[in-house]
Each structure stands twice: as C-alpha cells, then as structure tokens.
C-alpha cells in the first residue's frame, strides 16, 4: 500500500476541483464548501465525488457522502480509506 500523505490528497483534490470548475487558479482549503463557490451545485458535487473515486481508486459509501460538509471532510474520507488499506492509488 503506497503511503498517501495529506498533501498528496490535497494535490489530487486540487486537480479535480480545477477540472470540474474549469478554473486553473482554484486553491483548496479545508473549510471550502459549496457555500463559497457559486457554481458548486448538487451536480458538481456528484462530479467531484465521481472524480475523487476514480483518481484515488476508492469507493465512497452513501453515509460518507451524506456526511460531507467541506473539502476537509472529503480529504479525511479519502485518507481514512488509505489508513484502512482499501485505497489503490
């Protein structure tokens, strides 16, 4: 299992957000949430989850997705998958 640091996860998520929102300058912080980004609707939310699953080779469970409030939560869910040894980056 390759190690996955917090900064690896943020780097991956930054790529994803930049692609989904088509904004090359987008910077992520843990407390960034849909309330801060006008175009972040439920649709984009699904794209982000889909791209995250693909990028990190993980599968997010319904209850995990329901519990997401911001970028920090998403990064934590991904990190937990790797700690549990189910990630496949």
């Amino acid at each position: 299992m390759p190690a996955m640091t917090e900064s690896d996860i943020y780097a991956g998520l930054t790529d994803i957000f930049r692609e989904v929102f088509m904004d090359d300058d987008m910077e992520l912080r843990p407390d960034l949430s849909a309330a801060d980004v006008p175009t972040w609707d439920s649709f984009k939310q699904i794209e982000i989850i889909m791209a995250t699953e693909e990028r990190f080779g993980v599968k997010l469970m319904t209850r995990e997705i329901d519990g997401l409030r911001n970028v920090g939560d998403l990064a934590a869910v991904v990190a937990a998958k790797f700690d549990a040894g189910t990630g496949a980056a």
Binding site: M22, M50, M61
Partner: protein, 636 residues
C-alpha cells in the same frame, strides 16, 4: 468498481483541456468546428459536461448559423431525474454536427405536461421526444403475491400507459418519439427461473421490454435499447443504487456519455445521417500479414489459427453488414493485382471481390484514396467509416478528413466486430429490400473514371510527424536483421538480390562498398529498421561508378519522404568511397512493380530500358543537390 461504459472507439485527446479553453476566443465557425472535433474524442462524463458548458457559453441557445443539419428540439420526459443526461445528449449531437436543444419535464409531471397544451413542454415545441421511465415507476401497482392473471393485467396496463404517451406526443405535438427500454435494476427474488413468480418486478420488467418491441414497431416509435447495452456492459456499469437513492438518477453518471451517444445515433439516423459505407484496409485488417511480401500462402486467415479465425470474424461481420445494406469498400497500399489475389483465389476469404463496391489498391496516400471511394460511390465523405489496424494511417486520415469516422481499433482482430458494433456508426431504423441489394447496385454503377489527385496538406502532416531517421553502416549487431529483411522484402525492392550473412560480411569488409541500415522514429514510436541500401564502387568499369546493389524499404513508411532522405545518404556515402556517379538498377519481378519508376522519380536519368522493364539509371554526384525533407537525419 465496474468499468464505465466508454466511447472507446473514439481516440483519446491529450490536449482536450487546452483546446477547449481556446474555443471561446475563436470566430463562430472555427469554434463550432473545434467543438465538433473535440466531441469526436473519447470524452468521459466530466469532459462531456465541460465541453457542453463551453458550447453553451459560445452559442447560448441558438444553433450556429449555416449548419447543413436540421436543429433538433428534444424533450426528455421521465419519471425521475434526467438532468445529468442533457449535456451528453447535446454533445452527441455536436459529434454528428447536429445542434440539439433539450428540455426536461418538472419532476414526475410528464403525463400532465403532455396532456396540457398550455404546459412548458408545449411551449418548448419539441421536434422529438425521448420517454425514459425508471424501473421503480414502471412496476408501481405490482405486488409480488399477484397471480399470473393479475400480473398480466398489470403488464398490459403499463404498456397501455406508455403507448398513450406515444399517441399524445404524436397527436398533440407532432413529434417523433424515442422510447427508452427499462433498465432492469430490480433484484431477483427467485433466481434463474424468475419468470415463475408472476408478481416479480424483475420478471415484469423483462416481459415489458419484450412487449415494447412489437408495440414500438406498430406505432412507429424508435427504441433506445439500454437493456441491450446493459447486457453488454453489465448492470454495475449502468446503474449505481447509491446514486439512485441519493438523487433519483437511474443511469449512473459514468454511463451518461454512452447514453447520450445512443440518443445521438437515433437523432442522426432520423436525418439520414448514419454512415453508409465501411472502408476496409487489407493487410493486418482483413487478414494477417502483408500480401505483397508474404504471398497468398503466407497470409493468415481462416481456420487453423486463432488469429486467422479472428480475421475471419472481422470479414464475417463486414459481410453481414453488407447484407443489410452497408456498402463495403477497400482502401489499401498495395499493387492492385496483389490486393485482389486473395479475394479471387484464397479459399478462406469470406469476402469476395463482388462484395466490394469500390476497390482502391495503389500507392497513393489513404486520404486521397478515401476521397476517390466517396466520389466513386457518389456518397459524402461523412458517411464513410474507415477501418485500419495502422495508427499512422488512422491518424493521417483523421487529420486530412475529419468528417470520416475512424474507429480506434485494438490490435486483436477478435475484438474488432464488437467495437464496430458498439460504435454504432451504421445505426439503422428500417430495412428495405433495396438495402439488401445496394452493394450490387453501387458496384454496377461504379464509374471508374480517373480521379483528380487532390490537394491534401501532406506537408503539414509530415512536418507534424517529427520524423527522425537514424542510420548506421552495417554492423555485426544488426547482421541477422539485415539478412532477414533483405530476404523477405519483395515489394519495395529494386533488385530483389538475396544475401547471406557471409555476403553481408563481405560488404562490411570491402573498403569500396558500403551497406546502410536505416531506422525511422516518429511521434507514434519506433518503426524499427525500415530500409537497407548497399552500394559498390565498380573496380573495373569507369572509375567512380557506384552501383546500387540493393535498395529496399518497408512499405509501411511509403509516402513519408524516406526515399529522398535515403538518396541523400546514399550520395554522401558514394562520395566517401570516391564515387562520381550512382548507377541504379531496376530488376522487375512479379512483386516489385511499385518501384519501376523509383529512380526516375528521384531525378536519375534512365539510360537503358529493356522490354521486360529492366532498367539502368544514372545520377551524377557532382550535380546532385540533396533534397530537403521533413525528416531529421542522424548517424547512430
């Protein structure tokens, strides 16, 4: 996770993001062309949405002016959320040069909107309607405990509601109707013999899909058969139960691009814009090996080898397509006589000469030949699909003729029929007796008039290939490969002189001789050793004559300026050994007709020519000016 259904027949685009970003800055017409080109690459769900977003930013809600296709107003009517499918449907339209505007009913209100002439649906004034009902909606009213009679009544009621929608769409909106078949997401209750439980939702949906087929035919409705796609890709690829519970989207997001493409095929087919003709390469596409080099006995086709059976399967599929009305054509770099030989004489060939409506086998580039086929058959270039195993040729044709569909085929013929089927180029809505006869018609009507050589921007293409020719004199490392190439190359071979390791060693040790091995690299990769040249200074004759003992080249690199680049090297080496003239010899064989004029084309003067075609040509080295090419030449 299940593999997402993908537009795998389209080539991936490594520069998608950059190209997409440039689009808003382009003039309208160029912006549309660029969108069409990007829509014809392997887009996933996110890329599809990004493309759609840029398209709507540039064109808002109106079709680009001057489109030759009919704009379509497509209303999606469903019982759950279809919002994630709009972009994929619009992009599938762009892929076919068709502008599609979409609409979706308010959640759950499809029937009310159909019936109410004051509804937003009626105000939208659709030209086509797609009805997409989710499985849970369709089985409402069914109870597992129902007996056979009650279940049958439920089935008829569901079918009745669906056909009522068809009639409403036709009568009140004058629309063409597409009906999505049910995605059978219901879990089995019985198992293998689910049909024995009449009230099983899974069994009911299976029967409904079956019953929809004759009903749709009777009503002139076209089915969007996603049940068929699921049988191919698997339910996991098409449906994500968690997504269903979260947002009532029955089709999984990763499947959206393929869903959209299925809709786009039907839309295009209704406008008569399905492809009409499958253009086939020959060597390593219809059979294994190279007919010009390997000969009739050497090519791989038919029973006896798995590879041969794979090629037979490709031919079977092509023949079956032709029997349902798809025209077949051949586009091959070959001498025509060689190319025709298997069709006429190989016992394992499925396709016969009579199956091919236009046969172009020569040494022109493939874009030129594909134009010739379109002209020959009098059909548009945009109705052609070109099948070729060679990535170089595919890329050339895509660049020169972007309107021709060029599927990204895998290297294994066994996988080709399904890829072609999945790509849906030949989407058909009806079958007529005329379709079945069409191949014959085209063939008899074929005008074999000579075709003007067309002005293709080959220079731009060649420059973009970033070709590098690396050469070295014969050496012991290359010895085996050199002997092998010399003894198996039949077509591009001026003298067809065979050599042994011993005779090659002689060349290496003789200060008055030289042997060159040439390797070609380009941005598609390494083509390996592609040419061999041997020169000998004539010790007895007029001092300074260098005889070209051997000049051979792999046909894969024809038309890429390797010939003049080779001549530049040959001239330099001849000067090095003290030569003043190059003497080129052509010795005709059954196979090497293509190089008959090789020396004349390179600026040699033909000094002798016999009746059988044998010729001798001379080049004065003191007056020779090396030809500029797009190839970078380096000594390894």
């Amino acid at each position: 996770m299940a593999n997402a259904p993908s537009l795998r027949w389209l080539p991936p685009s490594p520069t998608f993001r950059a190209q997409l970003k440039a689009i808003p800055g382009l003039p309208m017409e160029r912006a549309w062309e660029s969108l069409v080109a990007l829509a014809n690459t392997r887009l996933d769900f996110i890329a599809t949405n990004a493309l759609d977003q840029v398209m709507r930013r540039v064109f808002a809600d109106s079709a680009p002016p001057g489109l030759s296709t009919k704009p379509v107003r497509l209303a999606l009517l469903g019982s759950s959320t279809l919002a994630h499918l709009h972009a994929a449907i619009r992009v599938a339209g762009v892929r076919r040069g068709i502008w599609i505007t979409t609409y979706e009913n308010d959640y759950g209100q499809y029937l009310q909107e159909l019936m109410d002439s004051g509804s937003a649906l009626h105000a939208f004034a659709p030209t086509e309607i797609l009805l997409a009902f989710d499985a849970h909606h369709l089985v409402q009213g069914l109870h597992v405990g129902m007996d056979g009679e009650a279940a049958e009544a439920t089935l008829q009621e569901v079918l009745g509601r669906i056909t009522q929608c068809w009639q409403l769409a036709r009568d009140t909106l004058g629309c063409a109707v597409q009906q999505q078949t049910a995605l059978n997401v219901m879990p089995a209750l019985m198992g293998n013999n689910e049909q024995r439980l009449p009230g099983s939702p899974r069994a009911l949906l299976a029967r409904l899909n079956e019953a929809m087929r004759p009903a749709a035919d009777a009503h002139g409705v076209d089915l969007l058969a996603i049940d068929d796609r699921v049988a191919i890709d698997g339910l996991d690829a098409w449906h994500d139960p968690a997504l269903w519970h979260r947002s009532k989207q029955e089709v999984a997001l990763p499947a959206a691009p393929v869903y959209g493409d299925l809709v786009g095929r039907l839309v295009a087919a209704r406008q008569g814009r399905s492809a009409k003709c499958l253009v086939l390469d020959l060597d390593n596409t219809l059979w294994g090996g190279v007919i010009g080099d390997d000969g009739l006995d050497g090519i791989v086709i038919g029973q006896g080898s798995p590879l041969g059976e794979g090629f037979s399967a490709v031919q079977d599929y092509a023949r079956d397509l032709s029997r349902r009305g798809v025209i077949l054509a051949v586009c091959s770099k070959n001498d025509e006589a060689n190319a025709l030989e298997p069709f006429d004489s190989h016992p394992d060939m499925v396709l016969k000469r009579a199956d091919i409506a236009s046969f172009q086998a020569n040494w022109s580039d493939k874009a030129t030949n594909i134009r010739a086929i379109a002209q020959d058959l009098n059909i548009g270039l945009d109705s052609l699909v070109f099948l070729d195993d060679n990535p170089f040729e595919r890329s050339l044709v895509r660049q020169e003729l972007p309107m021709v569909a060029v599927p990204e085929v895998e290297d294994d013929p066994a996988l080709v029929p399904r890829l072609l089927a999945d790509a849906g180029y030949f989407e058909g809505l009806a079958i007529t007796a005329e379709d079945r006869e069409r191949t014959g018609q085209y063939q008899s009507n074929r005008a074999r008039a000579s075709l003007m050589a067309s002005a293709t921007d080959l220079d731009g293409y060649l420059a973009g290939l970033e070709m590098q020719l690396t050469w070295r004199r014969f050496d012991s490392v290359g010895l085996q490969r050199i002997v092998q190439l010399i003894n198996k190359t039949n077509q591009f071979n001026l003298t067809t002189k065979r050599h042994t390791e011993a005779s090659i060693l002689e060349v290496m040790n003789d200060p008055n001789s030289f042997g060159l091995q040439l390797r070609l690299l380009d941005r598609f990769g390494d083509n390996g050793i592609i040419a061999i040249v041997i020169g000998r200074k004539n010790a007895d004759g007029p001092g300074g004559d260098v005889l070209v003992d051997t000049w051979l080249m792999s046909c894969r690199v024809l038309g890429r300026q390797v010939e003049p680049a080779t001549l530049n090297l040959l001239a330099k080496e001849a000067l090095r050994v003290g030569g003043t003239r190059l003497v080129g010899q052509y010795l005709p064989t059954k196979k090497n007709g293509m190089v008959r004029d090789h020396y004349a084309k390179l600026g040699f003067t033909v000094v002798e020519e016999a009746a059988d075609g044998t010729s001798l040509s001379i080049l004065d080295l003191d007056r020779f000016v090396p030809t500029e090419t797009f190839i970078t030449v380096t000594q390894a």
